[in-house]
Amino acid sequence: MPQLKEEAPTTSLMPNKPTKEQKRKNFKKGLNQWKEVLPFLILGLIGTGVFVIYPLFKGVVMSFQDYSPFPGAENPWVGFDNYLRAFEDRKFSYAVRNTVLAIVVTVPIVWFLGIFFASLINLTFVKFKITFRTLYYLPIITSWIVIAFLFQYLFASGEYGFINYLFYTKLGIFNEPIGWFQNQWTALVVIWLFHIWKTVGWAVIVYLAALQGIPKNLYEAAEIDGASAIDSFRFITIPMVVPITIFVIIHLIMGAFNIFPQVYFLTGGGPMNQTEVIQTMIYTEAFQHMNFGYSSALGVMMGIAIFLVTWTQQKKIGKQNYY
């Protein structure tokens, strides 16, 4: 039976100080509420407990062990060794550098392109709004693996890679065909372009929804008062999209922080680990080098970093995977 909360007659009869009797009743009430909700909650609780919360705890434990996944292994405790090891690892310094660079380079560009294209699509005279929206969104729903193949192909070295063909053979902007994946900086550029190309559509969609949510009468009132289009943009549009901008930027930082398939499928961390990022390192240390403890320690450090970056925004962030 549905419960009628707030109207429970017991509350009005209660004295102000919580007595034993009341505590017992509250406890019983809570128990009954749990009894009622549990059938709906239980599967979600078990699933999250077993496949999310337990693995995360286990990950933290493993980071202090020399862990081996094989049955009967001893898994000796090693204290902070796995953590200290990271700071002597050349690969880790590349990974940190590249992760930070990914954030610094891509977030402003994706943000700008997102609000720019959304504002254009939202202009009154622009037709085919839904078509534009759909086309801009296509990269997001396409599989990482396929897009990685596509970028390897477009940025192939030699004259017949499309980008080289366009900028060297046709336009003459490059002095020679570039071997994109042979040098760390050009490889990083391709990774950034890949990430930007794949996420701009998300920012466009979010801003478009925000812009369409601004009440039209604000603009009408401004127009009656003689405001120009630029004034309207400056004094109505910008203030109205500030909250969503915070959401978008935090999301983009998280997205770039979590950069992983972009690198894993495109360069695999090469040449010579120079394009490695933290997540590719977490994955390959565990699954290619079988260093599970080390991999977990890297994961814990990353988890803490993400927590610090986002903790002020915890409540507002609902991660909807866009990859």
Binding site: K5, V37, F40, T124, F125, L135, G161, G299, F307, G318
Partner: protein, 279 residues
């Protein structure tokens, strides 16, 4: 009346939008054209690609001779079941959080939310050990448990907001009929949240359809492989035959694109042509 926008500005705006479209869509076109080429054993030359004639031969080849028919069906099964499972369990949990009061509700929800911040790579190894100890390695059941169990939080978070907008008054008809919480869930909450459920369904489906890392750790047998694994293996083997690789790739991305194009109109609400914003 609206002020007329100068032709020049319209031209500039449309040009910018078109440049955007070209940047986002041209790579797809180049990929499709490449998949039409025959016998491309080295990197195809751009002028050959740009003049390719439509042909489905490569698609037939990968579908029939390289197991992609099988991978495709496997992925359908894996993503389909994972989608329904996530929607069912996620909507139940969201209903629990949206409609009931119980002690520690918000604390529990906070813990749920916190797990969303943490990168899932960290969890793959322990998830694998759980599945291993249940004896479910190399089974789809193991894969579904991880996909559904690991995805509940996201679905719950997404649906809770929608469920909270449903007015309580609507429940009265069910209560008068003597129905309980389950009937309210089934006859009121689910039907009224169709757009949200639809959106969630697409997220859940495309998320598992493309999932590579968990599938790689759980599935060992060749005949059970899903499309992303099949694709990676295939590319490893036929690295230089881009025509075949892209034919297989296009087969792999087609269902998600079709789903998106069919349902994308439901994602928008209003604000298309009305209003009087000057350009």
């Amino acid at each position: 009346m609206q002020q007329r926008v100068h032709f020049f500005w319209k031209f500039v705006v449309y040009s910018m939008l078109l440049i955007g479209v070209i940047l986002f869509i041209f790579p797809f076109i180049y990929m499709i054209l490449t998949s039409f080429l025959q016998g491309a054993y080295t990197l195809p030359r751009p002028h050959e690609v740009l003049s390719a004639k439509p042909s489905l031969d490569n698609y037939k080849e990968v579908w029939n001779n390289h197991n992609f028919a099988r991978y495709f069906m496997n992925s359908m099964l894996v993503a389909g079941v994972a989608m329904f499972g996530s929607l069912f369990i996620g909507s139940l949990s969201a209903y629990a959080f949206a409609r009931f009061e119980f002690p520690f509700k918000e604390l529990l929800f906070r813990i749920f939310l916190f797990t969303l911040m943490i990168p899932l790579v960290l969890a793959i190894v322990p998830q694998f050990t759980v599945i291993n100890s249940l004896g479910l390695v190399n089974t789809y059941l193991g894969l579904w448990l991880i996909y559904i169990g690991g995805g509940v939080v996201g679905t719950t978070f997404f649906l809770r907001g929608f469920f909270e907008t449903i007015p309580k008054d609507l429940e009265e008809s069910i209560i008068i009929d003597g129905g309980g919480n389950w009937r309210i869930y089934w006859n009121i909450y689910l039907p009224l949240s169709k757009p949200a459920l639809g959106t969630m369904a697409i997220f859940a489906f495309s998320g598992t359809w493309d999932e590579y890392f968990v599938a790689l750790s759980i599935i060992k047998e060749e005949s059970l492989r899903t499309l992303p694994i099949g694709l990676m293996m295939f590319q490893g083997q036929y690295a230089s035959n881009w025509s075949l690789v892209f034919a297989a790739s296009l087969i792999a991305i087609l269902p998600v694109i079709i789903l998106y194009i069919i349902f994308q109109k439901k994602f928008v609400q209003g604000g298309q042509t009305d209003g009087a914003l000057k350009g």
